[in-house]
């Protein structure tokens, strides 16, 4: 959440959005092959502290989704919109499905990451666009 007075970034998270915008999205992987998302210094699965950035595959697959009609105020102008959980290699990610007729969103749909913006706030939003 930025406002007029500050452009403070969330370390780890905003860098990840920057990377995703440059088609260089990544996951963190521990020596035991557990995948996770930043910001993170410790593997949540095994406690390992040597985490390495590994590139995310270019495409993911929707595992579950919903169409939200009653949003939080930050998405008032965006509703209705589809939110989905999609798997990209070692991690799952939650995002908004963009550029698609909401009726056609389904489990198994192949998507790629697309960082979009909220129509309500202009803030960046993690999105998925169908391939």
């Amino acid at each position: 959440m930025s406002d007029d007075e500050s452009e403070v970034q969330d370390a780890g998270f905003d860098e990840w959005l920057d990377a995703a915008e440059a088609d260089e999205a990544y996951a963190l992987e521990c020596p035991n092959d557990h995948g996770s998302l930043p910001p993170r210094r410790v593997c949540p699965e095994c406690g390992a502290t040597e985490l390495e950035e590994v590139p995310l595959p270019g495409t993911g697959e929707i595992e579950t989704f919903t169409v939200t009609h009653v949003p939080t105020p930050a998405f008032e102008e965006d509703a209705p919109y589809a939110t989905a959980v999609a798997r990209f290699g070692p991690v799952r990610v939650t995002g908004q499905v963009v550029g698609v007729n909401l009726e056609t969103v389904e489990n198994g749909l192949e998507v790629e990451l697309e960082i979009t913006v909220s129509e309500t706030t202009g803030e960046r939003v993690l999105g998925f666009s169908p391939i």
């Binding site: 969330d10 998270f13 996770s36 998302l37 910001p39 949540p44 595992e63 579950t64 989704f65 919903t66 169409v67 939200t68 009609h69 009653v70 949003p71 939080t72 105020p73 930050a74 998405f75 008032e76 965006d78 919109y81 939110t83 989905a84 959980v85 991690v91 799952r92 990610v93 939650t94 995002g95 908004q96 489990n107 909220s118 803030e123 939003v125 993690l126």
Partner: protein
């Protein structure tokens, strides 16, 4: 180890009272609890208080001492925050304090003021129980998260919205005689199916309401109950807590609640019972799908079978194991921080024959209460039993 007894319990009406502060609500609930239990306020050793969104709804932090004042007790007080499982975790710690001999009398409860925020404000406040960076900023709401689980459940185990509708119908039916319930009105399956969508497949009638309310329970040691000649036939014989990853997408399962399963197994083992011994349950049905996940996690239904339990009458008032005879969060209401303690109050009343719906479970001796936080990244389970004093 000291047994823990429910000496008294009090609830405010749950519902729409935007002008009431949480200190006012909690004060009312504690007066009822002390009147009910015949326990002196002076004997209270500690107050454990659950609340989730006080900073957002009332611009108030540091609730512990404020609520001790509201209750009229001179005792150290601590706030517990575990999203919607806030007072469930408070109850668990109260039980452990009494068991280990630290305290004899613990006042435990919670309150939440929510309706003053309006629907959008409350939706925003509830959403912070999810991962802010990875879920909330992607537009996920609290109903949205449960909708993701519902869709995943349908995909994995089958079922449809109509099955879920039977859960809402059942819980409204159960609330008809509960004078504290937010809704005392019957609904039909068609009402649920035709209601405006919130987050598909969940609609308005799949969702618990936004509620104001408070709950208070006086827990005492066996010895204290005996010394003071208290009428306290119900004991908390088992307690358990489970946890899971914060964001839904980081979980192993999208359509199960391992945190609740862990909490249930721990509570059952603690009480020395198994799921087959459970006569009646109060579970955290913030959305219709949540009741399905809860009864499967508690092993009252096999995985994949919970979806049909209400429709086929296994969990209805006249069923084998009635679930949410209070009306559940769905019809009774869900003032978040008060919910876990209110389940203990309802279950104790059901087991001791003091509840309007006790007639449906006349021989019940064992009940289970399940309280979940967020999309079940937190869960507590308590076993209550009628036992000799």
């Amino acid at each position: 180890m000291h047994d823990v007894r429910v000496a008294g319990a009090g609830l405010t009406a749950f519902g729409h009272s935007p002008e009431r502060t949480s200190r006012d609500l909690f004060s009312e609930a504690t007066i009822a609890a002390f009147d009910d239990g015949g326990v002196s306020r002076e004997d209270v050793d500690a107050l454990l208080y659950g609340n989730f969104m006080g900073e957002l709804s009332e611009h108030q932090g540091h609730h512990g001492p404020l609520m001790a004042e509201a209750a009229g007790v001179q005792a150290p007080a601590t706030r517990y925050e575990s999203a919607c499982a806030s007072s469930g975790t408070a109850v668990r710690d109260a039980v452990m304090r009494i068991r280990n001999g630290e305290d004899d009398v613990v006042l435990v409860g919670g309150a939440e003021r929510m309706t003053n925020l309006g629907t959008a404000g409350a939706t925003e406040a509830l959403a912070i129980a999810a991962d802010d960076l990875w879920e909330v900023r992607a537009g996920m709401t609290f109903p949205g998260a449960y909708a993701l689980m519902a869709q995943a459940y349908f995909d994995e185990y089958g079922g449809e919205h109509e099955d879920l509708a039977h859960i809402a119908v059942k819980n409204h039916e159960n609330a008809l005689t509960n004078e504290k319930a937010q809704y005392q009105s019957a609904i039909e399956v068609a009402d649920v199916l035709e209601a405006p969508p919130v987050s598909e497949p969940l609609g308005l009638y799949d969702s618990c309401p936004i509620s104001d309310g408070a709950a208070a329970v006086v827990l005492v040691s066996d010895e204290y109950a005996a010394e003071h000649g208290l009428d306290a036939p119900v004991s908390i014989s088992g307690t358990g807590q489970g946890g899971d990853r914060m964001a839904l997408h980081d979980r192993e399962f999208l359509a199960r609640s391992p945190a609740a399963r862990d909490a249930g197994e721990e509570a059952y083992a603690d009480a020395g019972i198994d799921a087959g011994d459970v006569d009646v349950a109060e579970v955290h049905d913030c959305f219709t799908i949540a009741e399905v996940l809860a009864i499967e996690a508690l092993d009252l239904e096999s995985v994949g079978e919970g979806i049909s339990a209400a429709r086929d009458g296994r969990t209805t008032a006249d069923g084998e194991t009635p679930v949410n005879l209070s009306g559940g969060l769905k019809a009774k209401g869900h003032p978040v921080g008060a919910t876990g303690a209110s389940q203990i109050a309802e279950l104790a009343a059901l087991l001791s024959g003091d509840h309007p719906n006790s007639e449906f479970v006349p021989d019940a001796t064992t009940g289970v209460a399940h309280n979940a936080g967020g999309t079940v990244a937190s869960a507590t389970v308590h076993v209550l039993e009628v036992s000799d004093q």
